[in-house]
Symmetry: C2
Subunit: 197 residues, 2 copies
Amino acid sequence: MTPSTLERQLAFLREIDRLKSVVRLSPLIDGSRRENSAEHSWHLAMYALVLAEHAAGTVDVQRVVKMLLIHDIVEIDAGDVPFHVPATHAGQDERERLAAERLFGLLPEAQAAEFRELWFEFEAAESDDAKFAKALDRFQPMLHNAATDGGTWVECAVTLEQVTTRCRPPIERGAPALWEAAAGMAEAHYRKHSPQD
Amino acid sequence: MTPSTLERQLAFLREIDRLKSVVRLSPLIDGSRRENSAEHSWHLAMYALVLAEHAAGTVDVQRVVKMLLIHDIVEIDAGDVPFHVPATHAGQDERERLAAERLFGLLPEAQAAEFRELWFEFEAAESDDAKFAKALDRFQPMLHNAATDGGTWVECAVTLEQVTTRCRPPIERGAPALWEAAAGMAEAHYRKHSPQD
Ligand SMILES: [Ca+2]
């Protein structure tokens, strides 16, 4: 007997519970532990709802929310690769593509296709919605680093120049005002902790 | 100097990071630990996206998603009260109302008002959107209990009759097909673990 629509949907919803066990390098703001990718996805969806007016282009906020809710689900199979650890990035695109096939493929076909396309759109970062979503995904960890006396900036021993090179383009392209705020936070951190002090 | 719109928005987004530290009684599906309210909110938003076709009324899915993303934020101040521990429920409505005032009040006024109203609508559970959102909030823990050999049903020593009395009305009202599925899971659990065996 083939599983019913509802059975396939519930199988998917059970499977993605595993995103709660994918641990990112980023700390919580209180420094008590690292963030997991499920709660990170919730937080980013809230960022989209609250910060939509700062998007560079004309965005459909509800679509951005949806994109951010699903953007990390591939990590259940592919794992999280820390942004500031480039050595881990090789082969990740292919691992994530396979993960998207398998995980979204648990759903009834029409939903599977919709989620796959939305995820590809996010990854491509070309539409206004995707550019804003990507900007938020890069912006949120900067807030956490600034709030925890350095977070992954310290842990990965990155310089202000590296932070700027890596974070400015994706954030500025999707939300210029957020890059301005983030740059201010990063500069304040590095000023306080510069090697010359 | 009064804080700018962006500063108020970022203060709110920093503050709600604390929802990741509000721990619910419900287990993760792999049983490894309890679920927190932030990742729970992410999971419920995914439930809304995937299960919308099973809603009893005509729902605006994007509004239901938004409602579920914010529905537990009050727990930052008010704490989570376990559904199957009625003794903890006294005074919770008032604690949550005060929490909604304070937490959403961190935002610029128009956004604060919008989130407060959406949260009140969820709590009232009268609109079709809110009925569906509430149904999902009651349905998801049943899946986790069924998947973990009882979860909070065992931990709180509730009977099948209590589960039915407490869960059937809110779930059936918002999503009848989901109550049918949940009842099947609960019955299977209690059949396997009935005292007579
Ligand atoms: Ca709750």
